[in-house]
């Protein structure tokens, strides 16, 4: 295990050219202003002077300014929304990252941090602002098997960390479906979840420290507060790039369970599957994961290369994973099996070997990809309701889909009440897009009315902004703005996201439909 020394400032020897160019400030006016830009597609403060300055920090190969090159970065995994960044910059080291943020601070330029661009809420869209990608910062700095922690840079891919510690009998527990692509920095910014968060908790519960560069360029260490201090790490996790960028983060590693049992329960109604979910939770069994897939999802998966052997005629299946010590695990699996049968399951399949389990999981984890067979675009929605409301909500969601003539595919974390009603559609078809948007609005309203929330793990980003007023009181939203102002008083980091700020004019809002924007 190697030790890390965390220097609060960029190494001057390493960084002297930047420091001197900081000093003359010649670039600062390059873009023509100090604006909180991004209102018109070409961001205020983003111009050739700034690009040259950034190129001096990261090297010209890592600054993109041409429209054709920026095309790649005009969207994340939220379909039907494109925003063109003013430029894109990709620092390769910690010092470069800090220098880039300081450069942008000096220029007063807004910026949007981006990991792998797998976010589903439009959080990494940069409308004229500087897009700051952290994917080159992919060093695993230290692994401490004894303390069960790892220190990583923000661009490390989620699954890469688990692979790096597999030989130690450890893994990184939060496992979003995009884990083979998404970065830990992005996970931190979004407070990402995943199927196994039912038992193990979300990103928040697995990060113990982060070194962060604030939008001002200050570098601060954030902790959970258990040594005597505010829980500023807790405040930072899930701040969606609005509070700064993690330079490094210390995460907990979880010991691999002694044994894992995966069950696939097959139901002839989605309501029965929801009832079984409630019965399992109420019985006091805490599965590692408890996932529900409906028939539309099952068929999309079974038609694809990710076919997992799910029963095509099932109205819904539950994928239930139990893990832990060998003693007692089979008793829990037997109990789960009985509860599923008691709720009307037609059959319960049990996979105990790794190959059979990974096949069952492949269908679940690649379900979103499989839906690519159904239509060209897919809205992957995210909402949470109290667990006892699941059956009722699923019935209502089906009715809403029918009313708007859209197909809803449900594949979600049933154990947490975390719904993912997904709608495959064609974003180039304006009429269809409008119907999808209307259906989603109704689904969200219904989840809020049921005492739930508008996002359990994907973030608000741009997509959920219109629902924030329905979920939070004006005073609460105001307090959120106060918190943002602590970290970023100039509101240059990911402007216009998460909290609707009417007083701030830096963002022109969402388009109002899910149609692809044509410019």
């Amino acid at each position: 295990m190697s030790e890390v020394s965390v220097s609060p400032l960029p190494d001057p020897a390493h960084d002297s050219s930047n420091e001197s160019s900081h000093g003359d400030g010649a670039f600062a006016a390059g873009g023509g202003g100090t604006g909180v830009g991004g209102s018109g597609g070409t961001g205020v403060g983003v111009g050739p002077g700034l690009a040259a300055e950034l190129a001096r920090i990261v090297g010209p190969a890592h600054v993109l300014t041409r429209a054709s090159a920026l095309l790649v970065y005009e969207s994340d995994a939220l379909p039907g929304n494109q925003r063109t960044p003013g430029l894109a910059v990709f620092p390769g080291t910690r010092d470069e990252l800090i220098a880039v943020v300081r450069c942008l601070a000096a220029a007063g330029t807004p910026f949007v941090a981006r990991g792998a661009g797998t976010g589903l809420s439009g959080g990494a869209l940069a409308d004229g602002a500087v897009l700051l990608g952290v994917h080159r910062l992919k060093r695993i700095i230290a692994i401490d098997a004894e303390a069960r922690t790892a220190i990583v840079e923000p661009g490390v891919v989620n699954a890469t960390l688990t692979r790096a510690v597999t030989s130690l009998g450890l893994h990184y527990a939060p496992d979003p479906s995009s884990q083979t692509a998404c970065t830990l920095g992005g996970n931190l910014a979004e407070n990402a979840g995943g199927p196994h968060c039912l038992k193990y908790g979300v990103t928040l519960n697995h990060v113990v420290h982060a070194t962060v560069v604030l939008p001002s360029g200050e570098v601060v260490g954030l902790d959970r507060g258990d040594a005597g201090g505010y829980d500023l790490l807790g405040a930072f996790v899930g701040s969606e790039g609005c509070f700064g960028i993690a330079v490094d983060m210390t995460v907990r590693l979880t010991p691999d369970p002694q044994e894992v049992i995966t069950l696939l329960a097959d139901f002839s109604s989605i309501r029965a599957a929801a009832d079984a979910t409630s019965a399992i939770i109420a019985a006091g069994i805490l599965p590692a994961a408890l996932e529900l897939m409906d028939q539309a999802t099952i068929i999309a998966v079974e038609d694809s290369i990710y076919a997992a052997g799910y029963p095509r005629d099932a109205a819904a299946v539950l994928l239930i994973e139990l893990d832990g010590a060998t003693a007692g695990l089979r008793d829990d699996a037997d109990a789960v099996s009985r509860l599923c049968h008691g709720s009307g399951a037609r059959g319960v399949l049990r996979a105990t070997d790794a190959a059979a389990r990974s096949k069952l999981w492949q269908g679940r984890k690649k379900a979103f990809g499989a839906m690519g067979r159904v239509a060209s675009h897919l809205v992957v929605q995210d909402a949470v309701v109290p667990r006892t409301m699941l059956a009722e909500l699923l019935t209502e969601i089906a009715a809403i889909g029918e009313r708007h003539g859209v197909q809803v595919c449900n594949v979600f974390h049933a154990g947490d009440g975390n719904l993912h009603p997904n709608i495959p559609y064609d974003a180039t078809n304006a009429e269809q897009s409008a119907r999808v948007h209307a259906a989603m609005q109704e689904i969200m309203a219904r989840c809020i009315a049921a005492g739930g929330t508008i996002t359990g793990e994907h973030g608000v980003g741009l997509d959920k902004l219109p629902y924030m007023d329905a979920l939070f009181t004006p005073e609460t939203l105001d307090a959120m703005c106060t918190l943002r102002d602590v970290f970023d008083p100039e509101r240059r980091a990911n402007p216009g996201k998460v909290v609707p700020v009417r007083a701030c004019k830096e963002w022109h809002g969402v388009t109002g439909t899910r149609a692809a924007t044509n410019r």
Partner: protein, 298 residues
Amino acid sequence: MNATSIARPTLTPRDAAELSAIVRESTAGLRIRGGGTWLDAGHPVRASHELRLDGFAGIRAYVPADLTISVGAATTLAELDRVTAAHGQWCPLFSWGDDRASIGAVIATASAGPAAPMLGRPRDLVIGLECVDGLGRVVRAGGRVVKNVAGFDLTRLMTGAWGTLGVITEVHLRLRSRPSVDETWVVTPTPSGGAEFAAFLRGPYAPLAAHPINAHEAPTPWLVRLGGNAAFVAAAREALRALGECALETHSAWERVRAHGAPAELASRWQWNALSRRVRERFDPRNQLNPGLLGEPV
């Protein structure tokens, strides 16, 4: 024991709106008092008035099958335990101190406890809260569902802030089912078995909680709580017995452990930095909420 026996005029709002009015309409420093169990923690509070939260007691919402509960901040841990136990559940905080403490204070002090490594800290178990901040805003942070990333996380901000950013009036908590078998043991690991005992605490049969009873004694006896289904606990018990002399204890032994640990010291050695000062200035610009408690300069 009670360091703050200084008589202060008392304010007793009945709801968040009244509390908001108190904060908005006066510049008086407020000494926040829930169960009154942590009043000797931290630095002396320079407040002219005592704010009593007695009006915020009681269960507000509880659907056992959701495994969540909403309670007024002045609800005691004893009451929370009584209500959830009736449904085979608990909020497994086992915080430092005792069960007379209010849940609001447990969240405000982020008082963890011997079970925190396994069952979660206050920050892991609180899913939302209502508070009145130093601007008098009634803030409803988070929600009542177990997964929620909507908006900036004011819940985590208020948790462990010792009331200096907002007065917590209601909390929403995640609950767990009580294990079907739950046993407390005293184990004295054999002098040569320290490594094995450490491995046990981190292994597949890890206990819900483990705490040394008397660190000055050698070998040190440990209090260990085993929980799970019958087969799990049977295996864990066997593993424990292999490590040293074991004796079954009552769960009340944990009360003595909890009484000796405390978050009080955290308030005394609070670490201020530029960012935390900024938080304090913005959420309580008039320095009204527990002023001085964390030793910050006026």
